[in-house]
Symmetry: C2
Subunit: 156 residues, 2 copies
DNA sequence: GTTTGTGCAAATTTTTTGCATTACA
DNA sequence: TGTAATGCAAAAAATTTGCACAAAC
């Protein structure tokens, strides 16, 4: 990640922790750093393994505790793609996108559609909420698999 | 539920089971019936408890197995509202809707917006899939709680 | 110095699996 | 009758909790 992004997310976390009167521990910044060093989705176990052999090895309990803080600070977003295991993703300056999950091979594809913002505005005004984030998942079957019996995704 | 709906979903399940060459067991129809006897969201444990004291008491394993069949048959839809426990809901002739989850009290609100269908069409054509269903969740903070310090939802 | 946060291991919760038994086809 | 489905209990997977120790403030 770029140095600007790195600085920006560290500042956001610092400000958040001060505002919430939480302590600025080394682990919290190490976790944030690790998350922002990778693209794509991850779960707690993957994050644990990624950090395990690096300078900062943190316990799973600490990861579970701090992912909540990062979620609340808006630095991470949480996904539930149908499996019973939460997936996460960095959120800062990472382009808004949603997901299509293949029912056949379970692969996750991304797409963007600005119209979701309009739906969001309507919903929050109707129900009198301020929407912090959203999760839109489409569950689908591959046309190629249905029509030709094979598809590109299953090969990989 | 109305008798027509009852008949219709039983027919859908019968056809599905025949097509898939799965057996038409009493448990499968009992589970379907129980699900269509209630409105709202439920998890496997609640379904288990609801059936526990009735004429059909089924094991949790059977519920887990058969909810997959009902999902695949399009008779039930699955939600993940942020907790690590899947929630389900009947799907047949139940108006399409999505959910807004309050980050403060965890209550779930429903809303409808036909524009989601347009997004769905764009996404499936771009990625070459046929979308079977979708899940759109908004996570939000209550304006009343923020502005007045109290909100209607927390009282209940 | 106080108190929050961390690490570890144990406990809990949710879901899956193995296997003997039942019952659909 | 052969085989898929069920029930039960045990196992696995994911997350939470309790407590002693470490480290922010």
């Amino acid at each position: 990640m770029s140095q600007e992004t790195k600085d920006a997310v560290n500042k956001i976390l610092t400000d958040y922790l001060e505002k919430q009167q939480h302590r600025k521990t080394a682990e919290r910044f190490a976790i944030l750093n690790e998350i922002y060093s990778h693209d794509g989705h991850f779960d707690i176990e993957q994050l644990y393994l990624m950090m395990k052999n690096k300078k900062y090895r943190v316990s799973r309990a600490t990861l579970y505790n701090n992912i909540e803080i990062l979620l609340d600070a808006g630095l991470v977003i949480k996904h539930q793609f149908g499996k019973n295991m939460a997936q996460f993703e960095k959120a800062y300056k990472y382009k808004q996108h949603d997901h299509l999950i293949c029912n056949d091979c379970e692969k996750v594809f991304e797409f963007c559609d600005p119209r979701i913002q309009q739906i969001q505005r309507s919903a929050q005004d109707m129900l009198n909420f301020d929407i912090i984030n959203h999760s839109l998942n489409f569950f689908a079957k591959c046309r190629d698999l249905k029509e030709k019996g094979v598809c590109e995704h299953l090969k990989k």
